[in-house]
């Protein structure tokens, strides 16, 4: 009984809406080096992102952006220090549990080629629910099917209905990126991580994309980490992180090494 109550409390904490003052990202004494590298690629004393915040991470190539994203997504774990996402310490989890955690809590959007070429648009979006029970459960709680939610998101993201059942190969890059956002958002994960999602877009598509991304992230209550080397986008975001300033690993003598890693 006691165990049950304890478990349900944890579930509640994990599944429930994040309150504003709750940390979505909490990094402490973090240090990470890629395999076969003697020098760390990323060293962060402390960093915290509150739930619902939209963070713009910028800096030149080689400042550790990709490394930070890999750590946040749980693809790699730090050699020392702590990393908590949505209240869950992920550095202690097994690789399989981290993959599971990523499926449940994090939506990722890459620079380009986010979609599986052999699935149609809708299937690409709902695929995220196939790999995450939590996302599927979130939708079920709201009483919508994965397919309906995918359709809702796609129309909110201004993707013409005629394209929904088509191969993703028929879409423009801008359309593909919006489909990727729909997939990242479906089932309302806690955190959306976007890695240079606009760099392949022209100015008009970029602005439209940013607006839609902001609106939908807000709507689903997810937090956003947006990585770019283009600091002109800065203005769209609540918080800015100049990574070279935070990353203590970037002292002069290791900069060359960092560049090799990126």
């Amino acid at each position: 009984m006691v165990l049950l109550t304890g478990k349900s409390l944890i579930d509640e904490a994990l599944n429930g809406e994040m309150t504003k003052d709750q940390a979505i990202i909490d990094l402490q004494q973090l240090s990470f080096a890629w395999p076969k590298q003697s020098q760390p690629a990323l060293k962060i004393d402390a960093f915290r992102l509150n739930a619902g915040e939209r963070l713009f991470v910028y800096g030149p190539s080689g400042c550790g952006k990709s490394t930070l994203l890999s750590l946040l997504a749980g693809v790699v774990v730090p050699q020392t220090g702590h990393i908590a996402i949505a209240g869950q310490q992920i550095e202690g989890l097994s690789a399989a549990k981290r993959d599971h955690f990523r499926a449940d809590h994090i939506g990722l959007v890459f620079q380009q080629f986010n979609l599986l070429p052999y699935l149609n648009v809708l299937d690409n979006v709902t695929l995220a629910c196939d790999f995450s029970r939590k996302r599927a459960a979130n939708l079920k709680r709201s009483g919508v099917s994965a397919l309906d939610e995918a359709k809702r998101l796609l129309s909110r993201l201004l993707l013409p209905e005629a394209l929904w059942t088509q191969s993703v190969m028929n879409l423009s890059i801008g359309q593909q990126q919006r489909v990727a956002v729909a997939r990242a958002l479906i089932g309302s994960p806690d955190l959306i991580i976007a890695d240079e999602p606009t760099s392949a877009l022209d100015r008009d598509s970029r602005d439209q994309f940013l607006q839609l991304l902001m609106a939908e992230t807000e709507q689903s209550g997810s937090s956003l980490v947006f990585v770019s080397h283009d600091d002109s986008l800065k203005a769209h975001f609540d918080r800015h992180l100049h990574l070279p300033s935070l990353n203590q690993a970037l002292s002069a003598d290791v900069t060359a090494q960092q560049e090799a890693n990126q």
């Binding site: 990709s66 994203l69 890999s70 997504a73 693809v75 790699v76 690789a95 399989a96 549990k97 993959d99 599971h100 990523r102 499926a103 449940d104 990722l108 890459f110 620079q111 380009q112 080629f113 986010n114 979609l115 599986l116 070429p117 052999y118 699935l119 299937d123 695929l127 995220a128 196939d130 790999f131 995450s132 997939r183 890695d195």
Partner: protein, 436 residues
Amino acid sequence: MTLNLPTLLRLSFKSLLNRRLTVFLSVLTIAFSVALLLTVERVRTEARTSFNQTISGTDLIVGAPSGDIQLLLYSVFQLGNASANMSWKAAQEISAMPEVAWTLPLALGDSHKGYRVMGTDAAYFDLYKYGRKQPLSFASGEPFADLYQAVIGDEVAQKLGYQVGDKLVIAHGMGKHSFKEHDDKPFTLVGVLERTGTPVDRSVLVSLQSIEAIHIGWGKPALSDIRARFAEKQGSTAQPDAEVLQPEAITALLVGVKKKTQLFKVQRRINEGGQGLKVVSEPLQAVMPAVALQQLWKLVGVAENALLVVAGFVVISGLVGLMSVILTGLNERRREIAILRAIGARPMQVMLLLVAEAFILTLLGLLLGAGIFYLLLLVAAPWVYEIWGIWLPVTGFSLTELKLLSIIAFAGLLVGLWPGIRAYRISLAEGLSVRL
């Protein structure tokens, strides 16, 4: 934590469908190799069954000394020709041996439209056994009882459309368009045998005396010929008398012994013919059909195994081809792996995706291969039967065939394992990186 197999299978399937053209070719390669393997195995086992079932109940086959296998082949299987005959006198001597229960003379060498004509006794229809000691039975008509009467096997009747009462002309020698026909002495068809699945189906059976009778006037003048010509000169149109029709030589003699324990004794005595005990007055050879068959399998076994090994290697090369197609595709699919990893697929799931692909393709290959195999059976069976007398039945898979198929299916899983492990390593090493 579940591996989410239904989703993985669905993804595998859709991914394959997307690459259907490239993938179809490797499936086709596997299908043909599987069909080849199944065919070799089926022909091998059916040839054995068919040979093993051709003769039963006969204890010894006796003929002029040649080789055990040769004697068996030309006397019972109608393959090849006798190098020499045995004398009628020797046959009678063997008949007279106290241990011998029965003998059946066989005289070969003539044909009718490509089918062998076999001169024997009417007792043949009671004494010759095939399969599990089954005797021959008549579909219509009855055994020959007189000169110029013939009984034909099922296939002869089917192919030539003969019925009881029809006339047929026997030719000297073999071949469909035999050069010399004994057309002055047509035979009357008196009986058609039921199908046996043995060379009997392809035989025209006549009495030994009939064979003698049509050869009167052929070849060197024998005593019987002179007598017959004498009879003809006397204006007699009656049939030659029995004495004249006693054959001088036959091709082989089937022997049944009274007691199985005496079999070796009889065999030894016949083999010692012309010397030592002098039971038989000329050198002869007696073989036990089962022993000769064993020798035949030993000989043929090498070729059989060689064929199986070759077919096996063709299957292996098909699977290696499949593996190379998947491995080659893997490089272009690093992006796909990164996407799957990003939405939470574990490296193990990425690996399973590729194993599933290889497995699905192998199964498709097996399915298509089985289809090709049965099609081949349907098309080639009558042709194989006509040439080698081996009937290939269109039946379900034998246990051995199922075993072969399961081994290939399992190999399909293994084939997927290597690309799978590569994909596993790629997923670990590259993580979510978008490098191309």
